[in-house]
């Protein structure tokens, strides 16, 4: 700032043009100076005093503005923005991932569990690497180098190289220090039992969300809710303080009703039966009679839920629950039980089945072998179509339908399992007599293996039905009475006769335990026509003196020459029954010696009177 004194001094040196005024204000200075100053006309201008004052004032205003601004920013009028910016430099919000709950069997054996994994990804344009590094990376990621190169050449800003990588592998990749390669946290679900229990447990997708089976049905229970926390980090990146915390909710564990030992028994017996008979598929189910718990549920073909890439449509289908089939003779006991319960027949009522043919309306049904006069007991034991049809025709259609419905046919079991189907049981009003007859021996009606097993559990537990469940239950569930206890006991006796020598499935017998059950062999329908392809089934329970398990086996399209349920499914039943009763430590109630005639009875020639479906004409 120019001081007025200096301005005056200048004025003193003003040149000739303004010399009078300058001279009047200041008389100092020599002549010589004046002459020198007069050389520059600018120096002779006298500035008005208000200019310096204005300048002073402007500067003052600027200082006030600065002060005001400082107050505005720091004094609390507008602090949010800057505080947020400051916080962004030391505070972080971290996500706390929640772990998905475990799935265990009834004894706590882990069937599915999640552990942390890493997703390795890249920003292709940032990647700088040399051939050696690339080779190492490819090896760690289990990719081939060309493939990796192609992915890194993709014109994208983000590309996953591999997901669900083990943490150790991801750390070794990070140690390569390749620019542009990153990893992020995720979870990988492990299924230690693999294919054995794959259909029950199901699987999750790469985001750890349930896609099939229990994983899907109990998604809300198993899935966790991730939490988050706000922390303060120091310059080294260490967390030094918590600001706030939202606790993560880990998924809850789930105990299934499955017993992994029984599951394995069922699975390996089923696999053996499917292999032996070169069948297309098969399914097996073991139920606990007392609690309605599913102890084992096996399917073939199966899949390995650990190998996510190979989850194809056909193998992942849970045939026990989602596939319906015409049951054939396994359906017979229910018409007989209904007739007995309504007092139409007694176990010793005699029924004429000769000559093994019977015409109803314009169709004829028949037995594979003519039997002559049979008691009701023998009708079941020898599996006579005619006998069953005659018994069923004794009943009003509606009564038979009501009974079937009470047994659970035509209704999806309330399992809470995705894809459970109801099967097909047409309303009684639409039945013609021929249909009433064929339905009684399992044709013109479709069921799932689950429904069949549930219906047999009614016979096994003195006429009551309990809801089935795939999760472990601690208290016995409420039961609904379907049959009188006397009828159920009589049915058990008949079904035991069916596996005795002279019955249809002596191959179902096992050493040490009395078993009871019924075979079924039905032709499949394709495009509305019965074809020469069969579904062989066996449903039974053991031990007969106090049933503990219901076991159902279904073999789809056995393609060897043998296709009768008594030869295909019954041996698998025997295998499952023997091993699971031993595993469950059930006391034996039968002769301990292996029945000597068993081997002979397994020959086809002695497998006496088996039913045969009669195709519509």
């Amino acid at each position: 700032m120019k001081s007025p004194a200096r301005a005056a001094e200048r004025g003193t040196g003003a040149a000739r043009g303004g010399s009078e005024r300058a001279g009047s204000r200041s008389s100092g200075g020599t002549r010589r100076e004046r002459t020198a100053a007069a050389a520059n006309p600018l120096l002779t201008v006298a500035l008005p005093a208000w200019r310096s004052k204005l300048l002073l004032f402007t500067l003052f205003v600027a200082f006030v503005a600065l002060g005001g601004r400082a107050f505005y920013l720091m004094g609390g009028v507008s602090t949010q923005f800057l505080q947020r910016q400051g916080e962004a430099r030391y505070a972080r919000t971290l996500e706390i991932p929640a772990t998905r709950g475990r799935v265990t069997d009834r004894n706590g054996v882990v069937l599915a569990s999640s552990v942390p994994a890493r997703a390795v990804w890249a920003i292709p344009e940032d990647v700088e690497t040399n051939a050696a590094q690339l080779a190492q990376l490819a090896k760690l990621l289990d990719l081939n180098v060309a493939d990796l190169r192609r992915r890194l050449a993709e014109d994208k800003s983000f590309v996953y190289l591999r997901r669900q990588v083990d943490v150790e592998v991801a750390e070794r990749i990070a140690a390569l220090k390749i620019a542009g390669i990153h990893s992020s946290r995720e979870f990988k679900r492990h299924y230690p039992e693999g294919p054995t229990s794959a259909h029950v447990v199901g699987f999750t997708n790469v985001e750890d969300r349930g896609q099939e089976g229990i994983e899907l049905a109990y998604e809300s229970q198993l899935a966790g809710r991730s939490g988050s926390r706000r922390v303060i980090k120091d310059r080294l990146g260490r967390i030094v303080d918590d600001v706030w915390l939202r606790e993560p909710g880990d998924g809850r564990d789930l105990a299934l009703s499955i017993d992994s030992r029984v599951q394995y028994i069922a699975f390996s017996a089923l696999k053996a039966a499917v292999d032996k008979h070169n069948a297309k598929a098969g399914a097996a189910l073991v139920l606990d009679v007392h609690t309605g718990e599913v102890l084992a549920l096996a399917n073939w073909p199966t899949f390995d839920p650990n190998l996510r890439g190979r989850l194809s449509g056909d193998a992942i289908r849970n045939r026990v629950i989602t596939d319906t089939f015409e049951p054939g003779s396994t359906m017979k006991p229910f018409a007989v039980a209904a007739a007995m319960d309504l007092g139409k027949v007694r176990p010793d009522t005699r029924i004429q089945t000769a000559p093994g043919r019977m015409t109803i309306g314009d169709r004829t049904i028949g037995d594979a072998h003519p039997h002559g006069v049979l008691t009701v007991e023998e009708v079941v034991a020898k599996s006579s179509n005619i006998g069953t049809a005659k018994i069923a025709l004794e009943l009003p259609a509606q009564a038979l339908w009501d009974s079937y419905t009470a047994f659970g046919f035509g209704q999806a079991p309330r399992l809470g399992f995705p894809g459970a189907v109801a099967g097909r049981l047409r309303p009684a009003k639409s039945w013609r007599p021929i249909e009433q007859a064929t339905i009684s021996y399992g044709h013109g009606v479709s069921v799932t293996l689950m429904q069949l097993a549930r219906a047999y559990s009614v016979l096994a537990r003195d006429g009551e039905m309990v809801p089935l469940t795939l999760t472990r239950v601690d208290a016995p569930p409420p039961a609904v009475r379907v049959l009188s206890p006397e009828t159920a006991r009589a049915m058990r006796r008949m079904l035991e006769m069916a596996v005795a020598e002279g019955g249809t499935a002596p191959a179902a017998r096992i050493a040490g335990y009395r078993v009871a059950g019924k075979t079924g062999t039905a032709r499949k329908i394709r495009n509305g026509q019965y074809v020469r392809e069969y579904v062989s089934s066996f449903v039974g329970f053991a031990p007969v003196s106090d049933p503990r398990v219901v076991i159902a086996v279904m073999i789809d399209e056995p393609s060897s020459d043998l296709y009768y349920g008594g030869l295909v499914a019954a041996p698998a039943f025997a295998q499952i029954a023997a091993a699971s009763l031993r595993t469950l430590q059930v006391a034996p109630d039968g002769p301990l010696e292996e029945p000597k005639s068993l081997l002979a009875l397994r020959q086809p020639a002695s497998a006496a009177p088996l039913l045969q479906a009669v195709p519509p004409q």
């Binding site: 772990t99 009834r106 004894n107 054996v109 882990v110 069937l111 569990s113 999640s114 552990v115 942390p116 492990h190 230690p192 039992e193 693999g194 054995t196 120091d234 260490r238 967390i239 030094v240 303080d241 918590d242 992994s260 030992r261 599951q263 394995y264 028994i265 390996s268 007392h290 050493a511 040490g512 335990y513 031990p543 003196s545 106090d546 503990r548 023997a578 091993a579 031993r582 469950l584 430590q585 059930v586 006391a587 034996p588 109630d589 301990l592 010696e593 292996e594």
Partner: protein, 102 residues
């Protein structure tokens, strides 16, 4: 004079307190860092435990046990070569062996 002495004492106390505060704050933070590290370790141990449980389940699955049993030449228990003992009063008619149900 006394007043000035008091001032000096208070000033010294204030200074000491300020230093104390700084130290306490620093200790809090370093303890928090330790706590954080310990919690991280706990989480890691949880993960390891989970992984070991999975490994155990995989190694103990019935299929693996059966393979090992076959290799060793074991045979499954069958009623034919099992001796059954009945407890005197719990009667042979008892349908379920003890421990059969959970």
């Amino acid at each position: 004079m006394i007043r000035r002495g008091l001032m000096v004492v208070v000033a010294l106390l204030l200074f000491a307190s300020a230093l104390g505060l700084v130290t306490a704050q620093h200790r809090t933070r370093s303890l928090f860092v330790d706590l954080e590290r310990a919690q991280q370790e706990a989480r890691q141990l949880d993960v390891d435990y989970e992984r070991l449980t999975i490994d155990q389940a995989r190694l103990a699955q019935p299929a693996a046990v059966e393979r090992a049993a076959v290799k060793l030449g074991f045979r499954a228990v069958e009623p034919g070569h099992t001796v059954y003992l009945n407890l005197p009063e719990a009667s042979a008619a008892a349908p379920l062996a003890p421990g059969a149900r959970k």
